[in-house]
Amino acid sequence: MADAPKPAPKPEAKYEPPKELEQKAAVQKFQGRPKRQPVEQAEYFYNVKGTHIAFFLSSVGMLVAFLMMFHKDDARPWKPYQKQFAQMDFEKLWYDMNGLQKDVLAMGKEIEDIERNIDLILSKFPTDPKKGVEFDVDEFKDQGLLPVPGLEKAPFNGKAHVFVNEKKKLEVAEKEEVRGDLYRRLQLMNFAKDELGAVRFRYEEAKHHFEDAVKTGSDRRSFYEGHYETEKKEWDRVNKEVEERKADADEVQKRSDFYEEFAAALEKKTQGKENGKNWKVKRALEDLRADRTAKLKELEDKKTRFAKEKPSFANTVRNAPMSDFFAPTLKVRNHILPDIKDQLNFATVTKVDRCDTCHVAIDNPTYEVRINPDLKEGDENKYTFKEPFLQQFVAHARGTVEKKDCVVCDEEGRKTKEIKEPLTPHKSWESGDVVKFTKTFMAHPRLDLFAADSSKHPIAKFGCTVCHEGDGRDTDFTRVVHTPNSEHQGKEWRNRHGTPYGEERYNWNYRELWDLPMFPTKYVQASCRRCHTDAVDLDGAPKYVQGMKLVERIGCYGCHRMDTYQILPKDVNNVAVDPNRKNRRPGPPLLRIATKVSEDWAAKWVLAPRDFRSTTRMPHFFGQSNTRAKVNQNDYPVVEVNGVKRSPVDDTIVASLVKYVWSLSDKEADPAPPALKGDAIKGEIIVKQVGCTACHKLVETPLSVFQDQSPEKPATRSRYLEDFAPTLFGVGSKMNKAWLFAWVRNPKKHFKDSSMPNLRLSEQEATDVVEYLMTLKKPEWEKLAAPQANGKIVDDLIVEILKKVMSDYDAAQTLAGKNPLPEYKEMASADGKVKWLGRKMVKNFGCYSCHQLKDDPDSGMKWQDEEGIGVELSGSQPWGSKHHDKLDFGFAADDGVNHHGVEAVDAFDRPVKAHVAESRAAWLENKLENPRIYDAGKMASKPWDELLRMPNFGLNKMEIELVATFVQSFTDHAVTGLVEN
């Protein structure tokens, strides 16, 4: 435009006086002002028209940006929930109102009917009661207002005589007579009952004496027999009399009731409408009227609410963007809990929970939900409302009922009503909304204990996150740190909304930096301990309680220090420790083990305890997924022994362990049992009679009963919780006879903390019992080859250990016995080497934390005082407060993007497979299932002392969940400010 041709110079204009109206323009024309457009453009650097357009477009852009801003401010994630709930609740209100209306109408009609009947009855009575009248009772039968049925037959004659008494009132002649009769009969019945008591005593005595006499063959037998016969007859007679008298009284009772009612009706007749209060019909009528008044009031209340909540212009404005600051109906709900503080590291702030902004009905009993345990998470029918209307509402919103049959739509009913259409139209819920909304709107499953105002933990006082954890101040699904129960559920949450990929590819992602992620619902009971620290039984926390019992039975506290169970002498002798927290070590002491079992048996046992006894509490340390085939660069592949795959490395370690334990054991044999001949059959009788079987089973339960058959068929029994004492089956293949005799005679002699009582058996009895127990053998076990220490593997293991602390050369010299240091002097002999290795392995696998061992004179090791090998679960870094990035997931982590879990094969050619979601609970579950799983894929590079050592307890899914609940209960998130009770 800048190049636009300039207009040709104007020719000289001839001056003409302008017309008045055109003066201004004419002056301009005369003065030579050119047409604006082209010249103006030449004056300006930018194209003015283009600038205008740019300004216009940018202004439109600003408008759009502002609209976006308003929308973002308005579209809060919690609003859809409140909107949906408001609609649901409103439809329920509408439905309830209609129901109430119907009820009120029906009740009014009923009242009318009753009143009409009353009038009818009263009209039959004489209006001028001068003399007695006889009525036929049948006349009243049809009205149903007097208790007539069944009274027609004798002794009732179907008549009632009405007369006028001194006070000029109508009265029934029979009334007093019958009342007297009833009184008499009731009295007779009671006398008979009294007598029954006395006779019963005499009868029982006589019976007992007679039976005793029969048994002992007493010479007074015939006397007792006669006595018994008499008393028996008496007993039968009185019994019969009681029955008769009762029937008698019942019959008269009916008559009496009739006359009482009849009299009450007459009273009403003579004393006017306001009286006759004794007449049941009249009382019922009054109750009915009261009910109706109450319903009317409820209806009025609901109508008021209805008027407030119905869709209206005012309500729309209240919730509209920009005007919703004033008094919106949809708003964030706050529970400010001044009694409870949140510790935010540098500040202590009052707890504020906003959870019921979405979980609107959490304390509302109307919205109670029935949970179907057989269905999977995510199934539409897993959660259903108990309230029938709400069920129908869900069906309506889901579109699974025909519109014409729909209670919510109720087309006929709506015709005359204010709300013509339901607010939530048919089929307006998308797939998944049923589960989503039902779960969100459900009341707390234990309203008797939690959330409700009448419960012990009302929401107004306790809030939600005090137990559930998470960020109570936030109102976004992800940001409040909802945590899925399972990886499957996590996937579902991610899939429901949103874009296809990225960390935030789904609507939900784990907000990893929050200190206190919400407990998955299956573990929420772990937080009970926070306040109920000392409780051993809690209603509403069965998992926590069971978990505690299980942990105690399994003996987790042996290796993992927990402040609730203390076993180390330094703790137990500490006066400050609560005596209830002192515990014995989980396993039996091994102070005299050499006198109890054979070395071979012990080696076989340590290698695979469950193979000998399916219900043992001793875990499997060996034959695990991280068993090594390579020691000190030499290969020792798994070999097959008697058809079972065994690792020679495991065998060597086991043999050395056992050898070392034997070297510490007291070897002085128990005194030989007295030379008595035992009788196994008598022994069996004694075992069953004395009560051994209350604790000890004699038959072995197969292990498979306690194992999960498949993910769909988890086990429902726990061998740890079921069995209190070892099964005795196989004991004959295990014990030394002399030891067993000494044990049976007095268990406390060998093990003062044993729970087994002294049964005070005589020497003969004990001999019989031992004889019997020794017959309980496991022949196939006896055939198994015991693990033996392989000298070459021993050397390699020792070198590997030494290489960690010294040069290769020194290691070789030390192994050859040339190291003068006292701790290596055992290397001089082959046996010494095995013992040296055994000591290292006892320390490595922590045998001493469950079993008491004697102090080691050779190395000065005081096993009693050694800390367990596991991580402490309580204390300053409690497990329940541990963040998931403090846990080693190894290669088992699976986030679907950078980590894909591990699938490997172990030394025994068994598949090792794990896909662990990056969450604390998932880590724990997998750890409990296979404690060595996080070594998978690292076997080639991990040094021996970094290999995981936690033994395998063979827990099933149920047990894992219980243990995990208890482990997560150790936390430093104290609830301050709330004092229990």
């Binding site: 650097f45 930018y46 940018s58 600003m62 940006a65 976006m68 590291n345 930096l513 950078n898």
Partner: protein
């Protein structure tokens, strides 16, 4: 091009770029490669400024960058870093800074060509041009302010403020990063003690910038873009700004992950990644490796080589240069100006030297006196 689905199934991290290419980038990238590449690009940029700034070439360079971003964007790890609300300004910085650099060098290229032909620079021809403040200035300013309001509003709506969780002494964020404009300084902390990287060098940046008008005696290039007439001034400033400041910010933002480890652009920021950092002091090189002796006990004796080297670098090198390589500069600026320029220049170059020594010979400190908290 494989579809996204197949790549996901094959275990890749998504997007049309072949996983092999991404793996190569990840493994090939490290601070050395990154710095060599950026210095190379920088030198190429200055040398070839008359060629690459031609609109068509520059536009294709821009297009290439944009296409790379688009292709790389679907990759989960790449996207995670690039779209982090904290990092979005740095993505913008790459493009904005690229544009202004191109603009300056393009103008310089045109002017230098004119100067070669004996013509005055473009700016001289415009000196007498006048425009009206309304509408040309104020109207366009108004439009710009509206457009900026739009951009800021939309940005504010689309990206949430990068707030994190309540601070906890027991759990610090990993990586702990400085604000984006300090990431260059934070990168220097890898090579220097805080007193140098955080105090001395930043102070010298400021004093250096303050000295520019007093030390720069070159009358040319005033009021117009040129590279030919002031290669030293422009080159030094751009090296300090683009390489030692901006490229370190970009590296700190996109390529430094947990534990301040270096990560490739498509690499997962694995907290457990381990990198070897076995560094050796100069004194150990000198006494132990060269002379085969143990380290002397006295710190001054022990560190004598490093101290001498540092002093020589700062105080002997400038006079040496003044009589040899930088004769012209010395003559042109005079004694005081020369020394001021040299001290600042050597400090700047010294940083690069230290970085190179760290990468090549694992040099930890030139002077290492922990007894006195004095390490260089």
């Amino acid at each position: 091009m494989t579809t996204l689905g197949t790549i996901m199934m094959e275990g890749g991290t998504g997007g049309p770029l072949p996983q092999a290419f991404k793996d190569f980038l990840n493994s090939a990238f490290n601070p050395v490669v990154y710095t060599i590449l950026s210095v190379g690009l920088f030198i190429g940029m200055l040398v070839g400024y008359r060629i690459w700034t031609k609109p068509k070439i520059a536009l294709s360079l821009l297009l290439g960058t944009v296409i790379f971003f688009i292709l790389a964007f679907p990759d989960l790890n790449f996207r995670k870093i690039v779209t982090k609300p904290d990092n979005v300004p740095i993505v913008a910085l790459i493009f904005v800074l690229g544009f202004y650099t191109w603009w300056a060098l393009r103008q310089a290229a045109i002017n230098d060509e004119r100067i070669d032909k004996g013509l005055p620079p473009m700016e001289a021809t415009e000196a007498n041009d006048r425009v009206l403040s309304w509408p040309d200035l104020i109207y366009s300013e108004l439009i710009c302010s509206v457009i900026f309001t739009v951009i800021l509003t939309v940005w504010g709506v689309l990206l949430n403020a990068p707030l994190e969780e309540p601070a906890s002494p027991g759990k610090t964020p990993n990586p702990s990063k400085a604000p984006w404009y300090f990431l260059g300084l934070q990168e220097m902390l890898v090579y220097f003690d805080p007193w140098i990287a955080g105090v001395v060098l930043p102070t010298m940046i400021i004093t250096g910038l303050m000295l520019v008008p007093y030390c720069d005696k070159n009358p040319k290039g005033v009021g117009y873009y040129t590279l030919k007439e002031r290669p030293f001034a422009v080159g030094t400033f751009m090296f300090g700004f683009l390489i030692l400041w901006i490229s370190l910010i970009i590296m700190g933002t996109f390529l430094r992950g947990p534990n301040w480890n270096f990560f490739g652009p498509f690499e997962n920021w694995d907290v457990h990644k381990l990198a070897t950092l076995s560094n050796v002091n100069l004194s150990e090189y000198f006494w132990v490796m060269m002379l085969g002796k143990a380290l002397p006990m006295k710190p001054l004796v022990r560190e004598a080589p490093g101290i001498l080297l540092t002093l020589g670098y700062l105080f002997v090198l400038p006079p040496l240069l003044a009589f040899t390589v930088c004769k012209g500069l010395y003559k042109h600026t005079g004694f005081i100006r020369y020394n001021l320029v040299m001290i600042h220049l050597l400090a700047m170059v010294g940083m690069v030297i230290k970085m190179v020594l760290r990468w090549t010979v694992n040099l930890k400190y030139v002077v290492f006196i922990p007894e006195w908290f004095f390490n260089i």
